[in-house]
Amino acid sequence: MSAPCASTVTSRPSSQTREPDRAQPTTSRRAFLGISVGATLAAPALAAAGEHASALHQDRMGVLVDLTECVGCRRCEWACCDANGLPHGPLHEYDDQTVFEARRYPSPNQLTVVNRAKSDQTEREPVHLKVQCMHCDKPACVSACLVGAMQKDPDGPVHYDASRCIGCRYCMVACPFEILSYEYERSLAPRVRKCELCRDRTRDGKLPACVEMCPVEALTYGRRSELLALAHDKIARHPDRYTDHIYGEHEAGGTSWLYIAGRDFASLGLPTVGPKSPAALSEAIQHGIFRGFAVPIVIAGLLGAVNHLTKEDHK
């Protein structure tokens, strides 16, 4: 993995320096198989290199969602479809609030959706929850992907590369937020679909489409570190308005998308996720086993010894 990536906005290093990171991979699946054979032989070296693969830029970007500001207008859904070339109707169709009657999940044609949380009876206004890929700092989907089709950009976005994808959908199983969707209805070359944090737009200095569209600026795009400071400051200044919890600060090892709200997040429909990345345990086992190739050598040695000691008996 390359060095930490440069910025997508002007106050960060210029966009030229990020180009190597964003260069389209040229690896075909056939070439990948060849690589994988070599990689198996070089497993010890790869395992050591893997420890550096998750280096994240300290200026990585994210989005802070203030759920106390969201009015449930669903314009972010429209903007997302518009920016990603997905089918969508005119804006006024998004006034339809009957969609809130059932909980919705992101789909190949809607990379972000707004749900209305169940009323807790004390609130006089409904609370709305926009969901999309959380862009984890230590993404389980990246860890689960066999072929490196899921990659974490050091500056924030978790990026999906359809040209590498073999369609195993392990990433969908791995995602603790149940975000990833799959083009089941597309018979040829179906893809996993997810929010890409508008990495193409931000590379051009624009805001993510949903952030730009939000009329009440419930969404704020910026450095994750600054967003955390902003969120902590809001909570400190308005303790009656917010619960003292930033969802995404620690969840799943930290995420690029951060939420603050007036009540606990489990009641809003966000999954309760521990502070450890779901990938941490499996990666620890895998990397532990293959560290220095010691365990395979020991096992192979044992088996060889057993074989050697037992084959005499058959003479």
Binding site: S7, V9, T10, S11, R12, P13, S14, S15, L64, E69, V71, G72, C73, R75, L91, H92, D95, Q97, R124, E125, P126, G205, K206, L207, E212, M213, C214, P215, V216, E217, T220, Y221, G222, R223, S225, E226, L227, L228, A229, L230, D233, K234, R237
Partner: protein
């Protein structure tokens, strides 16, 4: 429109929606920002006079209508009925509801003085002008009968714009759909006398109370229905504001109470002429305990000046000489001005009352 109004309107016209696609995070040619501590988005100090538009804020009337037409992007302009909102704000917290950085009798602080037209990447805690205005409106219009759709305020993109002239009758009119009941009956928990009857119409019409007299800092939803809620308000006026010294039984009863009837309640029939006189004209200012029998001075205030009737001791049909000149009018005029009056024998009888007066017995 005078100059201050024009300036205020200009402020509203300045409200804008940043066109999408414009670089909100600055131009790419800018040098990278140096490493710095994450900004703690602070509570901004309110801009002071030298930064503000010199418009006397709340002592001067605001515009009737403001056209917010700078945006014209996904949606068309907004025609904002400032006068109507001004009237509603009398109840819900004054002009500072929206003009939150302006204090009474200070110049209006323009929105754009704190909220930049474009979001500033260096200070993510500051809401842009577009976001601030939307929040200001949607704080109330959030879930008002599900009418929080954009088209509730915005014209369709490209649609012909409404001008103030199209709002001539509408602007500032009392909303006709708000029609409180004549009376409300409450079942209180009070033991023995649980029923309280509140005659709303009488309080408004007979007692001349304005909405804000009672509904100060009241909930919007009291008029606009459930869902139109502002959680921040605490109602400041209740019955006890006026009725602190009123007897319990004046309001509480076993059953619904009849409306206030001056003749039945006080024994003084207002008749045709006095019914049109305000309470204060006879009883003086104040409510509740201050309601007393009118002093003669208050009768004379009208009957001498307004009617041109010289109602002093000399012109009175009965010569009010001696101690009679000091009588209260109502000592003789009981029940109503035209009603039964005291006769001489009520005081001057053959009994010994008053002891010092020349009773009939002495004649």
């Amino acid at each position: 429109m005078n100059a201050p109004q024009a300036l205020l309107l200009t402020l509203f016209l300045a409200l804008a929606w940043t066109p999408p696609g414009e670089r909100l995070h600055g131009a790419p040619t800018q040098p990278p920002a140096p490493e710095r501590a994450p900004p703690a988005p602070p509570a901004r100090p309110a801009p002071r006079a030298h930064e503000t538009t010199p418009v006397p804020a709340f002592s001067e009337p605001g515009p009737d209508v403001a056209i917010i037409d700078d945006l014209v992007n996904h949606y068309g302009p907004v025609t904002f009925d400032h006068r109507l909102h001004e009237r509603m704000s009398e109840i819900t917290g004054d002009c500072a509801n929206c003009h939150h950085e302006t204090e009474a009798n200070e110049p209006i602080t323009g929105c754009a003085e704190c909220h930049p037209r474009e979001r500033n990447a260096a200070d993510p805690g500051v809401t842009s002008l577009r976001g601030a205005i939307h929040r200001q409106c949607l704080d109330c219009h959030k879930d008002w009968s599900r009418a929080n759709s954009c088209g509730f305020c915005h014209e369709e993109a490209g649609a012909a714009m409404h001008g103030p002239e199209d709002f001539g009758e509408f602007v500032g009119a009392t909303p006709t759909h708000i029609s409180p009941a004549q009376s409300y009956t409450y079942d209180t928990a009070r033991e023995g006398l649980p029923v309280v009857t509140f005659h709303h119409e009488d309080h408004v019409q007979a007692f001349g109370l304005s909405c804000a007299d009672c509904h100060l800092n009241d909930d919007c939803e009291r008029c606009h229905g459930a869902g139109m809620a502002r959680q921040t308000v605490v109602r400041e006026r209740d019955c006890a504001t006026c009725h602190a010294d009123t007897d319990c039984v004046d309001c509480h009863d076993l059953t619904e109470k009849a409306r206030f009837d001056h003749a039945e309640r006080t024994g003084w029939d207002l008749g045709a002429a006095h019914a049109a006189v305000s309470c204060e004209d006879c009883h003086g200012p104040g409510h509740g305990a201050a309601l007393t029998v009118p002093a003669s001075l208050r009768c004379l205030a009208c009957h001498q000046e307004a009617h041109g009737v010289a109602l002093d001791a000399l012109e009175h049909p009965v010569t009010l000489a001696g101690s009679h000149a000091y009588f209260e009018c109502v000592q003789c005029h009981r029940g109503s001005a035209e009603g039964p009056r005291s006769t001489c024998v009520e005081c001057h009888d053959d009994r010994e009352f008053p002891a010092w007066s020349p009773g009939l017995a002495g004649w």
